[in-house]
Amino acid sequence: MDYLQTLVNGIVLGTLYACLAVGFSLVWGVLNVINMLHGSLIIFGGYLTYFAWHSYGIHPLLALPAVSLLMFAIGYLTQLTMINRVVNQPVLTTLTLTFGLDLILYNFMTVYYTATPRRVTLDLGVVDLGGVVIPFDRLLGMALALILTGILYLMMKRSKIGRAIVAVRMDSAAAALMGIKVNSIYAITFGIGSLMAGATGAIFAMVYPVTTNLSGAYLGKAFVVCVVGGLGSVQGALVGGIVLGIIESFAGQFFGPQHALTVGFLLMLVLLVVRPTGLTGVKGYE
């Protein structure tokens, strides 16, 4: 019974990780940019949600769509005006640029919001499923995470923009010849990445404390999930997230919680060397 509880905890955690990483994975896969800004964008989304709730009494579920759209706009403009200039340069350049942008955002958040942990407290109680206990806010977070990743998956598969993004991912030169505006697709992709980060932040604000100190940890999770699941696909992020969630949950149980993180990173390093396409082995959305 105890193992079942650990497994369920891991799966719940894993869906949250998947939601956290899917935007990062998309940006990396399509733009070939390691977005160091991702962790701070999540925190930013979290703060917006928290203050909407704290100052104006807006329920996080209502704030979520608004925060997501705002983050889309921010991401779209960032990519269009800045990252597009260097998007074809080596990883050292793009990574350093996004890290510079991260320093700016991080600094302003620390000054304006201070690093005090804040959390939206909804007090929803727990759900008891035959001995397995899940806090209701986590269950809600998991459901939202699954809905969001599901929408993203459908958008990639069905919509015109989704197909254009996939085309750019497969071969940007050929996509340009087919009349796709590659720069604009890049901006939309980065916008979607930021949107997912913002939505993740809104969900996390209900489950975890919001503090700038966590931005690095979230970014690290995104790295691991991407490498474990495989790059640039929604299903890869989902598999990677759930695998990481379960492994961390069991590692925490057996070796103590302080080693759960180490196990995750070690798994990433091993997979990087042994199987760089990730567990799913999918290289696109085809």
Binding site: H259, L261, L272
Partner: protein, 320 residues
Amino acid sequence: MSRRTQYLLFALWVILLASTPLWASNYVVRLAVTIAMFTALTLSWNFIGGFTGYPSFSTAAFFGLGCYAGALSERAGVPMLLAWGIATLVVGAFAAALGAIILRLKGHYFAIGSIGVVEVVRLVISSWGSLTGGGDGLNLPLLAGGPNVVARIFLAVMLAIMIVTFLITVVVDRSRLGFGLRCIQQNEDAANMAGVNVTLYKVIAFTLSALFCGTIGAAYASWTGYIDPSDSFSILMSIKVPVMCLLGGPGTILGPVIGTAAFTLLEEVFWANFLDYNRAILGVVIVILIFFLPGGLLGLSYRDAMARIGGMFGRTKAAA
């Protein structure tokens, strides 16, 4: 700039830094120690990041490991200088073994892997409390003589390490090794076909990039007398060092030296004047660097820079 001019400028810079205790305040001496330390780190990174073109963000792992190897040896009763030597060898061996594994990765995967290494080493050190003191960190005996004397001693130490890394850079630059590394940077497959032992060369470059980070880490630990995991393995250092190198001009001999000097002095000004916003200003410096100085300060020409600034405001559409 010819090589001879670069050697000459470096010699002048060393003399200037070494003479700071004679004409400047202790604050400036301390700044000189920091500059010498980061110059050595940047020159080290230049072997893998500049010459070979591999985006390594492992500097903090090597530095932190050096801190702990040195501190633990010293606490076990090993004399200070010997402890620094041990730290150097430990880090060198670690980098050689690690390089043989992760240098098979390229581009983004290598970058992520090298960041992952920093995290793994940091987490192992901070959770291995019985050996390393965990999050509480470790204390080391301070050198006798008060802060002024100690600062002078470590100025000499850091300058010595900086000079050694510079000399190795000069040797590598002129040797077959440097030529091979530049070939790898331009086209690894072609270099392999042309008979460069790619794997060996990359591992050598990676080890060189780590070796003196170990010495510096150990010396830093002795200097400050206290180390802890979050300070020793800061991801900020892993990024700062490449940024300094990019600022100066990667793959050159003097670039890392110029870049570190410019960056450290800028940072010092920001720390002094905008305490709350120093990170943000650092970010702005990075953004400006990426957009306006792609070849670093050494590759700078006035006309290029003006054309770039004009382009930024004139046409907003980047080339596809």
